[in-house]
């Protein structure tokens, strides 16, 4: 995959394409876009400085296969900066999914982003994950999703119940 230099747009298509290549290379089982960019799929745009890719590891060892993932992406021209990989100067985190986030990957919505097939967390899972973390910005994200996304309340209640979570008081 060719890596483009920093441009006026976020290199999200390159990120999603790279994640698909990790599946094709048998390095991960599945993946989905999570975090702030997943929330932006459902709500108005806001500033965020990285992309979070949650993946289900193929390698169930202690490292979740992360060294092989990093090596593969570096061979494609990605750079490493602290906990992030950089593509076109844009930071990307690859996070091993477990429990609630693994369920979010498996049940993520399939989308097409500029011709790249991708998966993005369902809004209900973003709410549940924010409820499980509980920082001020997570409460703000829940409120924003409740106001702007078409949440499936029954689905959300099921997710919250299965993971023993409650929505915070806003």
């Amino acid at each position: 995959m060719a890596i483009n230099p920093p441009s006026d747009n976020l290199p999200l298509a390159a990120v999603l394409r790279a994640a698909n290549e990790l599946v094709a290379a048998d390095l991960i089982e599945d993946w989905a876009l999570g975090g702030a960019l997943a929330a932006i799929y459902y709500v108005e745009p806001f500033t965020t400085y990285d992309a979070d890719i949650f993946f289900i590891p193929k390698d169930e060892g202690l490292t979740d296969g992360i060294p092989a993932i990093y090596a593969h992406l570096q061979s494609q021209g990605w750079q490493i900066e602290r906990e992030h990989l950089l593509v076109g100067g844009f930071p990307v985190q690859f996070l091993a999914a477990v429990g609630l986030t693994e369920e979010a990957v498996r049940e993520a919505e399939r989308i097409d982003y500029e011709g790249v097939p991708a998966k993005v967390f369902r809004a209900e899972h973003i709410v549940a994950i924010a409820a499980s973390v509980g920082r001020a910005k997570d409460k703000a994200r829940i409120e924003q999703l409740q106001q702007q996304a078409d949440l499936d309340k029954t689905y959300l209640e099921n997710v919250l119940h299965r993971h023993n979570l409650k929505l915070p008081t806003l």
Binding site: D8, L10, I40, E44, P45, F46, Y113, Q147
Partner: protein, 45 residues
Amino acid sequence: MKPEMRQKLAREPFAEKIRKVAQLIRLTKTFPRRLRLTDARPHGK
């Protein structure tokens, strides 16, 4: 911003919203918060 306008932004195509995120990042980097500069000034003179 009015809730109706925010709702309209939320309904835009994902690719368009990602372009707006890129614009917001550029603006944030070009115009860092003036508050920090104000806070750095000495007071009382």
